[in-house]
């Protein structure tokens, strides 16, 4: 099973093959978690998101058409949407409680303080971006996807993705210099 491509596994799972489905989940669980974490930055929320995405996959896989859209496109789309929902709820909680999640997640780190500051500050700057720019930046820079792939995930033209990434980079540079 591990030698099969996502396309083949998706086809088999759509036909009810449990082993194929298990292989898909095992293969992509970590990636979903990491994408969700980069968005919402709370480990427990990212774990919940990974679980929700995989449960949704279990419900939808039988109707999934592997010829229509790449499996990874669907996965990224669902993960980003769930991560955004979790992030919105998290921000509401934080605004009420008056603290930032970023500093919490780095408290137990053993990395040098300077590195922590740069990383923490970077993530906080990324959080300030509008959602559309944050989406494309995390997918392109964080996940290494092409502009074309990201365009399919977020549902816009490739040139729009390029524009949003360009804008996001400019803002980060400007904020970083303040």
């Amino acid at each position: 099973m591990k030698n099969h491509s996502d396309f083949e596994l998706t086809q088999m799972a759509a036909n009810g093959n449990e082993d194929a489905f298990r292989c898909l989940v095992e293969r992509h669980c970590q990636t979903v978690f990491k994408v969700a974490y980069k968005w919402c930055r709370i480990k427990e929320d990212a774990e919940d998101i990974a679980q929700d995405v995989m449960m949704q996959l279990a419900d939808k896989i039988r109707g999934f058409n592997p010829d229509g859209a790449a499996f990874s496109t669907w996965l990224y789309k669902v993960t980003i949407n769930k991560a955004k929902d979790a992030y919105r709820k998290q921000k509401t909680r934080q605004d009420n409680e008056g603290r930032y999640a970023g500093s919490q997640t780095l408290q137990t780190s053993t990395c040098p303080q300077e590195d922590k500051l740069v990383h923490g500050e970077t993530l906080e700057l990324v959080d300030r971006l509008p959602n559309k720019e944050k989406d494309v930046l995390l997918l392109i820079v964080g996940e290494g996807l092409t502009h074309k792939e990201v365009a399919k995930i977020v549902g816009c033209a490739e040139t729009t993705v390029s524009w949003r990434v360009h804008n996001a980079r400019k803002k980060l540079a400007a904020w970083g210099n303040q």
Binding site: A13, G16, E18, F21, R22, V25, E26, C29, Q30, F33, K34, Y37, K38, K43, E47, A50, Q51, M54, M55, L57, A58, D59, I61, R62, T105, L106, S109, C111, D115, K116, V118, H119, T122, L123, V126, L137, L138, I140, V141, G142, T146, H147, K148, C156, A157, E158, T159, T160, V161, S162, W163, H166, R169, K170, L172, A173, A174, G176
Partner: protein
């Protein structure tokens, strides 16, 4: 235009070792729950009683066929009396691209050395064509073709270069970018490309559309 952050620097900052991994116990729990759900969903769909096709197919077909007949009639009438401006523009633009492909490429091979042409544009409809050639070099040549009332004017620059020019009487700074797929994108503080359409600040452009071309 303002400097932007390089991807390599940003990637190093985003991929910090402090980003946690999904631990084995949590991963196994998620996999088990998902597989159980997959199994239950399969059992539910097998258990659901299936109606014989004749009981639902024929009643469903009747309204669908009536709707299809109406739609065909509407489309026939509409096509008889209207021509989509988008179709006409796309056809004209395709012809324009064909005739310009060879001529422009040859012309701009000689302009490979940072030559710029100032663009003076008049108000009105514009077609903006973005094209570029990735010849494996770091900075592919990019050209922008503006056609105003059938008269072409050109801008040529290297990727990553900023160009100061005048469009519709306004000073405009254009920045040339390349995407990860070697397509090129033209961006500016004064206008932007969004979903294949050029949007102008302060109403500089009207009904512009972008054609992407890779040589």
């Amino acid at each position: 235009m303002g400097k932007s952050v390089k991807d390599d620097d940003l990637k190093k900052m985003l991929d910090h070792p402090d980003i946690p991994e999904l631990d084995d116990a949590t991963r196994d729990r998620i996999v088990t729950m998902a597989v159980n759900r997959f199994r239950e969903t399969g059992q539910r769909s097998e258990a659901a009683p299936k109606r014989p096709m004749s009981q639902w197919l024929i009643p469903a077909l009747k309204p669908a066929m009536a709707a299809a007949a109406c739609l065909v009639l509407i489309v026939m009438v509409r096509n008889e009396f209207t021509v989509s401006p988008d179709d006409r523009t796309a056809a004209e633009s395709a012809q324009m691209m064909d005739s310009y492909n060879v001529a422009v490429f040859q012309e701009y091979q000689t302009l490979f050395q940072n030559e710029l042409r100032a663009v003076v544009a008049r108000d009105g409809e514009v077609d903006v064509m973005l094209g570029g050639q990735d010849d494996g070099q770091i900075n592919p040549v990019v050209f922008v073709h503006l056609e105003m009332d059938g008269e072409p004017v050109f801008i040529t620059a290297y990727s990553g270069q900023s160009i100061e020019t005048v469009i519709a009487g306004k000073n405009v700074t254009l920045e040339i970018l390349t995407t990860s797929d070697s397509d090129v994108v033209l961006v500016s503080d004064n206008f932007m490309v969004d979903d294949g359409v050029l949007h102008g600040a302060e109403g500089i452009y009207a009904d512009a559309h972008v054609l992407e071309m890779n040589l």
